[in-house]
Point group: C2
C-alpha cells in the first residue's frame, strides 16, 4: 500500500517537474544571475530528491556513504599541494581525491542544505585559484600534453569535469566577487590551458580530447560562456596540426582533422555503440560523454543529445555491459587493465543516466542493483525508486556482434555465448593508439574466468612504484605485439609490422556471424592486410553436441600466401599443465624464444615435434579440466613457452603458452578444439572426466572453396563441419563429395553426421 | 511452539534410547543371530531417526542428497571391474565410488526401508565375493604393500571400512547362506590379506595402518569375530619386522615395535590433539579413528574409547579446526595438498561425532552449519536437531600452541592470530614419513589467503595423468627439501641432510609462546640438531602497533655455529613483485640456482648485493600491498628466484621467492618485518598506502644473552624489541644498557619506546 502511494506521488512529482521544466522560459546565455544548479543537479530536481529522501533505500544508502566519505575528508582538512608526482604519487592522488570529493560535496550541499559543504568547496577552490596562476607546466615530462595540476592535460581535464559540478552547486551561494576570482584566476585560464594552449590534446578524436572537450563544455555551461561551449562542441577553430604528429603512446594526434565533442561522438562509436578503443577506454570515456550529455540535456535540450546518431550514447551503455564476462569484468580488448568492470564509478553513472534518459529499460535496473549504489541526482533517484518498486529484470547477455567503425563497416567483435562458455573474437579496426596488433585473435571464458587469455595491457594503473603508474615499455615490446595474442604470427613479425600508421589504414572483414541455432553458433572473418601477400580466414564455432556435456569451441584458421613463411599459432591457456600427448625436450636453462616483436619476452620451456597425429594439451584451472586438441602435421613444432623473459623489473606475469609452429609453409590450416570437460576438487579429491572426450580431429577436405573437419568423440559419435570459404550467403546451396560421399546443405556452413 | 515441542520429544527420545541401550544385556560375541545394525547405525538409533524425519531440515537435506546420489548410481548398474589402474584411473575410481555408495546405500536401506538398496548392496558384494578369490596382488608395483582391489593396501582398507558398514546394514536382511558366502569368500580373506599377509602395512604407527586396523576392526565387530578384533586393537602378534625397513615414501615401517589401533592413538597424537603427520593426514585419519570409535562406543562401551588418553580423539577434532585458515583450509604442514579443508567428508563425520559424543559443544555446530550437511546417523541427527534449535555458536579460532609428540614434549606448532593476519610457526618433530625438512619454518596468511607460502606437497592427488595421482618425484627432490620452505638453509644442504633416519631422532624445542597481550604475541623456538654444530633460534612476533593499521610480523633468526657457513634465507612471497630498494642484475637466460637438495628446481631471476642498508621488497597480492623489510649487511646477496627449474613435466608451480644469502659467516642474524599495508582495486584503480610504513629496522644489540631490534616507522615512532636468548622465565627481571640507555623489563621479551 505504501509502495503504491509512493508510486503515485512519484508519478505526480514527475509530471509536475516536467511541466515546470517545459513551461519555463528558455534561459538566455549571459543572464546576470541565472538559477543554479543547472548542470547535473537542477533546482527542481533537488527539490524532488529532497521530497523522496527516506523512501528509496538505495539512494539513501548511497547518500549516507557519500556523506561519510566527504565528512571524513573535511575532517582531514584541505590540502592543495604543489604538483610534483606521477600517478600513484602523493600530489597526483591528492589532487585526484580533491576533485572527486569536491563534486560529492557539491551534491551534499544541495541535497542536505548544510553550509559546511559549500564552505569546504569555496575554500578549496580559492586555494586552487591562488595556486593555479603560479604554476608552470607539470615537472614530469613524459606526456605529449603536460598539464599543470597533473602530469598530463588528461588528468587536468578530469579535474575540471568534476570541479565544474561542484562550482555549479555553490554558484548561487558564492558572492559575485568570489565567483569573479574563481572564474578569472582559475576556471577560464584552466579551460584555455587545456584547449588553446594544448591544441594537440584538445583537437583530436581520442578519449583524451573527449575529456578535454567535456571539461571545457561543463565549465562553459556553468559560466554561461557560449564561446567556450562552441569550442567544446566543435573544437578550436583555425588550428593546423601536422597530420603525422603522434602522442606519447604512439597514436596519431589528428590524422583527418576532425575535432570537438561531436566529432568524438561521430568517429569512435560504431552504429552498434562499440567504441573503437575497446571497452576499457569506452568505460573511461563514458563518464564525460554521459555527464556532459546530461548537462546538455538539462541546459540545451534543443540539441537532443541523447537522440544523436541514432541514440548512440544510450546504446553504447548496453554495448559496454555486453562486452563484459559473466562477472561483469570487461573483456580486455586492446590496452585494458583486467578486473575493470561494470562496478566502476563510471558505469554507475552511465547505467543510471541510460536508465533515466533512455526509456527506463528494466534490464539496466538489475545492473544497478548489482552495483549497489546510485549517483546522487535525478537519474540515480529514478533508478533507486524503480528498484524499490521491484521493476528490475535480469540483464540477459546473449551472443552478439558489435560492428566497428563510424559506419559499422570496419569489422567488429563477435561474442558467442552458451552457458557457461563465452568466446570473444576480434576482427575490428586498429582501435586508435590503444590498439593491439592482433587481427583475428580471441579469448575464451568459462563462468566468468579466463580459460584462454588475452594478456591485456602491461601497466599497473596508478601504482606509482611501477613506472609512475603509467604504461610500461613492455606494453609496446610485449602486450601490443601479435605473439602476445591467440592469433597467427608470420615470420616472427607482428601484424602490419607493428606499425600504427599502417594498422590504422585497415580493418578485418566480418565473413559471417550466425547465432540462429544456439547449439551451433558460428563467427568467421578474414584479414588480408596484416601481412601483405597473405590472407587469413578464421572461423570459430561454439558447438553444443549431445555427446558432450558442455559447449566446445571449434577453431579453423586458413592461411594462404604467395610465398613460403613460418607461421606461429599460440594458445595462451591459463592454469597448470597436466599432460601433453606429444614428446618434448625440456631445456636445463631457459632462453628467450626470439629476439624481437614480443618473442624476446617468451621463454622456451620445451620443444616437441609432431608425429603427424593430433597434438593435445590437457590442463587444470580453477578446479576444471580442459583439453586442447589440434591437428598437426608431421614435423610441426610444438613450443611450450612462458612469458617473462627480458623482464628485469618483473612487469609481466609468468603465464604459460603452447605455440604451434609451421615452418616454410606457403599455405597453412590450423584446426583445433578447445574443450572444458571435467572437474577436480581438492576437498573431495575426486577427478571427474579428467580426459578429453575427443578421439580424433581430422581435416577431411580443404581447398579454396571448402574446408571440412571431422570430429570423432570417444563414445564413437562422428560429426563433420564444413564451411564455404568464398560464399557467405544464407540461401546458397552447396554440394561436395568427400571420400566418395555426397554432402549437401544450404548456407555458408553445415554440421552433420559423417556419412 | 513447534520447536519447543520437538525439543521435548527429542529429549524424551534420547532418554528412552539411553535407557534402552544401558538396560540391554551386553551382547555376547559369536551369538548366532545378533541384532543388526549395531556398528554405526543401531536398531534403536534408526527408529529414533525415522521418528524425526521431516523435522530437521539439515538431516532431511543430507538424506535427500544422498538418496539422489545413490539412486543415480543404482540406475547406472553395478560394475566391479578387474583391478588395473592407479588412482585417477577407471578401475581405481570405480572401486572407490563403489565403497562410498555401498555405505550410503546401507544407511538408506535402514532409514527408508526400501529393499532396492539392500538388493543393490547384496548384488555388488556378491560380485566382489566372486571376483576377490581370483585376484592376484594388484598389477601396479609401486607400493610397499600392494592391495588387491587397489594398488596399495591402504585403499583396500578404505574399501573395507566403508563396506563393513553396508554389510552391517543388510546383515539381518541377508540369509545365513548369503552371509556365509560373503564372509568366507570376501570379508575374512580380505581382512587377513591386509593384516596377516601384509604385516609391514598393518603392524605400524602410521595413517596407513590406522586404516588397516580399523578396517579389520570394523568387519570384526559386524561379524562378532573377537580374534579379528584383538588383531585390530593390538596388532598381529609375534611378527618381527626389520626395524630399518621403509615404505615407498621413505618412511620407517616400524622402528619401535608399537602396533595396533591403540598404538596409533598413543603415538602420533600429542596431548593437545595434534597429529604428528600434520593436519592434512590428520584429516585423512580422522575418519577411521572416529568411525571406529563410534562403533566401539556402540558395541564395546566398556572400552570408553572417547575418554581414552584424556579424550584425545574428541580434542583432536577441535585441534584440526584450529589448524585451518580463515576459510577453513588446513595449513599445509608437511605433505599436504592445499585446498583440503574442514568441508571434506572426513570432517563432516568428525564434527558430528565430536559433537554427539563430546558434550555437545555449540561451537562445533557453527562448523557443521558451514559444512551444510550431516552424516546420516545418530550423531548427524543430533547436530541437525540442535542446529534447528539455534544452538550454534561461532567457532572462535584464537592463537594457540599445539605441542607435538605422544607426551607433548617434542616441540610443536605455534599459531599467532590477530585479525586479519595468521602466522603458523613450525618447531615440531619430523612427522613420520610425510614430514618435511623444515625446522623453524613458517607461513603467513591474511584473510585466509597465503601471503608467505609453505609450498605444500608435489602431487596432484587422484589426478591420474600426473604420475597416477601419486606422489611425484618432485615431492622428494623439491617439496620436502629445506630450501622449499621459509627457513634457514646451511651450505645448500637440507636439515638433517634430508635423511629421514636422522630427522626422526630429533625435534625442535619450544622456547616461549606468549599470547597474553593480543597486540604483542610472541612465539620462539630453538633447533640444535638440523645442522650439527649449528644452533638456530627463531623468534616471531605478531605486533599491532598504534602507528600501523594492521598487525605486522617481526622475525628474528639467530644462527650460531662452530664454523663459517653459507646461510640461505628464503621468503616465498606470493604475488607480483612491485619494487625492490636494491639494485640487481637480471640474467638473459635462466639457470638453476644450484644442483641438488631442491636448488636444482629454482631459477635465478636476479641477483643483487646489499649496500648494508635495509633491503626491501614490495609486492601486490589479491588487491593488497605487502612489504618485506630485512636487515642486510654489506655484501649479503639477494637472489630473486622462481620455482620450476628441472621440471620437465610441469609438476611444480612457477612461484617466486626472495632468498637472502650470507656467505662465509660463522654466526648470522636475520631480522625482518613483513607488513600488510595497502590496497589496490582494478575497479577504482586507486592505490592506497602502496608503500611500507617502516622507515628503518636495525639491530641495536646482539650477543648470546640478548638481541635488541629497533623499528622506526615513517611517522617517526620508534620502538625497541628485546629478547632474552637464554632465559625464558616469565618472572625473570632483565636490565641491559644499549647506546648508553638503560632498559629494564620482566620476562623473556619487551617491546617499548626507544629511549
Amino acid at each position: 500500500m505504501k509502495i503504491i502511494l509512493n508510486s503515485i506521488l512519484t508519478a505526480t512529482c514527475c509530471f509536475l517537474l516536467t511541466s515546470c521544466n517545459t513551461s519555463q522560459a528558455p534561459e538566455t546565455l549571459n543572464t546576470s544571475e541565472p538559477s543554479h544548479p543547472k548542470l547535473i543537479l537542477t533546482a527542481n530536481g533537488v527539490n524532488s530528491i529532497k521530497s523522496q529522501l527516506g523512501k528509496t533505500p538505495l539512494f539513501d544508502k548511497s547518500l549516507e556513504e557519500t556523506k561519510a566519505e566527504v565528512d571524513a575528508e573535511i575532517a582531514l582538512g584541505i590540502d592543495v599541494p604543489v604538483p610534483k608526482d606521477f600517478s600513484g604519487g602523493y600530489t597526483h592522488e591528492r589532487h585526484k581525491k580533491n576533485f572527486l570529493i569536491l563534486q560529492k560535496a557539491g551534491v551534499l550541499f544541495q541535497i542536505l542544505d548544510d553550509e559546511k559543504y559549500a564552505i569546504y568547496i569555496r575554500d578549496m577552490l580559492m586555494a586552487y585559484a591562488k595556486l593555479y596562476p603560479t604554476l608552470p607546466v607539470h615537472p614530469q615530462t613524459r606526456s605529449y600534453a603536460r598539464g599543470k595540476l597533473f602530469w598530463q592535460c588528461l588528468n587536468d581535464s578530469n579535474w575540471l569535469v568534476y570541479t565544474s559540478q561542484a562550482y555549479d552547486c555553490i554558484y548561487n551561494w558564492l558572492s559575485k566577487e568570489e565567483r569573479d576570482v574563481l572564474e578569472n584566476d582559475l576556471f577560464k585560464p584552466f579551460a584555455d590551458f587545456i584547449s588553446i594552449e594544448n591544441p594537440q590534446f584538445f583537437n583530436r578524436v581520442h578519449n583524451h580530447s573527449t575529456w578535454g572537450n567535456v571539461a571545457v563544455g561543463m565549465i562553459a555551461l556553468v559560466m554561461d560562456d557560449d564561446s567556450l561551449l562552441q569550442r567544446a562542441l566543435y573544437g578550436i577553430k583555425n588550428v593546423n596540426l601536422d597530420a603525422n604528429m603522434k602522442d606519447n603512446d604512439g597514436g596519431f594526434i589528428n590524422k583527418d582533422g576532425k575535432v570537438g565533442f561531436f566529432a568524438n561522438l561521430d568517429e569512435p562509436f560504431s552504429p552498434d555503440g562499440y567504441y573503437t578503443e575497446g571497452p576499457y577506454y569506452q568505460r573511461y570515456a563514458m563518464y564525460p560523454f554521459l555527464i556532459f550529455a546530461e548537462a546538455l540535456q538539462n541546459k540545451k535540450p534543443e540539441l537532443k543529445i541523447f537522440q544523436y546518431k541514432d541514440s548512440v550514447l544510450l546504446k553504447s551503455v548496453k554495448t559496454l555491459i555486453n562486452l563484459s564476462d559473466a562477472d561483469g569484468d570487461f573483456f580486455p580488448i586492446n590496452d585494458a587493465q583486467k578486473g575493470m568492470s561494470y562496478y566502476s564509478r563510471e558505469l554507475v553513472t552511465a547505467v543510471d543516466i541510460a536508465y533515466h534518459f533512455g526509456g527506463n529499460d528494466p534490464q539496466l535496473l538489475s545492473i544497478a542493483q548489482k552495483q549497489d549504489r546510485v549517483v546522487l541526482d535525478d537519474s540515480g533517484m529514478s533508478v533507486a525508486n524503480d528498484l524499490q518498486l521491484n521493476k528490475a529484470k535480469p540483464f540477459v547477455k546473449s551472443s552478439i556482434e558489435l560492428r566497428d567503425g563510424p559506419n559499422g563497416d570496419q569489422g567488429g567483435i563477435g561474442i558467442l555465448r552458451n552457458e557457461p562458455m563465452e568466446l570473444v573474437f576480434k576482427y575490428a579496426a586498429q582501435g586508435l593508439s590503444h590498439g593491439h596488433y592482433d587481427k583475428l585473435s580471441y579469448s575464451m571464458y568459462e563462468d566468468g574466468n579466463e580459460v584462454l587469455q588475452d594478456y591485456g595491457l602491461a601497466r599497473f594503473v596508478n601504482i606509482e612504484q611501477k613506472g609512475g603508474g603509467n604504461y610500461l615499455k613492455e606494453n609496446t615490446t610485449w602486450a601490443k605485439q601479435t605473439i602476445a595474442h591467440n592469433t597467427v604470427v608470420q615470420n616472427e613479425a607482428s601484424h602490419f609490422n607493428g606499425e600504427y600508421e599502417i594498422g590504422s589504414m585497415y580493418h578485418s572483414e566480418g565473413y559471417l556471424f550466425d547465432i540462429g541455432n544456439r547449439n551451433l553458433q558460428v563467427v568467421s572473418a578474414k584479414e588480408k592486410n596484416a601481412y601483405p601477400g597473405t590472407e587469413m580466414h578464421r572461423t570459430m564455432a561454439m558447438i553444443k553436441d549431445s555427446s558432450l556435456t558442455k559447449p566446445f569451441v571449434l577453431d579453423i584458421v586458413k592461411v594462404t600466401s604467395n610465398k613460403p613463411n613460418q607461421y606461429d599459432f599460440p594458445f595462451y591457456y591459463l592454469g597448470q599443465l597436466m599432460q601433453t600427448n606429444f614428446e618434448y625436450s625440456a631445456p636445463k636453462s631457459l632462453a628467450p624464444l626470439g629476439a624481437a616483436n614480443g618473442y624476446q619476452h617468451l621463454y622456451s620451456e620445451g620443444k616437441g615435434i609432431s608425429d603427424g597425429n593430433n597434438s593435445t594439451l590437457n590442463w587444470l584451472l580453477n578446479g576444471k579440466f580442459y583439453t586442447l586438441t589440434t591437428v598437426t602435421s608431421q614435423g610441426d613444432e610444438l613450443h611450450l613457452a612462458r612469458v617473462g623473459a627480458n623482464d628485469p623489473n618483473f612487469n609481466l606475469r609468468r603465464d604459460p603458452a603452447l605455440i604451434l609452429r609451421k615452418k616454410n609453409s606457403k599455405d597453412a590450416l590450423f584446426v583445433s578444439i578447445i574443450e572444458s570437460h571435467g572437474t577436480y576438487s581438492p576437498v573431495s579429491e575426486l577427478a571427474i572426466n579428467a580426459y578429453s572426450n575427443i578421439k580424433k580431429l581430422e581435416v577431411l577436405f580443404d581447398d579454396s572453396y571448402y574446408t571440412a573437419v571431422a570430429i570423432w568423440t570417444k563414445d564413437e559419435h562422428s560429426k563433420l563441419f564444413i564451411i564455404s570459404n568464398t560464399n557467405n550467403q544464407k540461401t546458397q546451396k552447396h554440394q561436395i563429395s568427400i571420400n566418395g560421399k555426397e554432402y549437401q546443405w544450404t548456407g555458408p556452413f553445415t554440421f552433420q553426421n559423417i556419412k
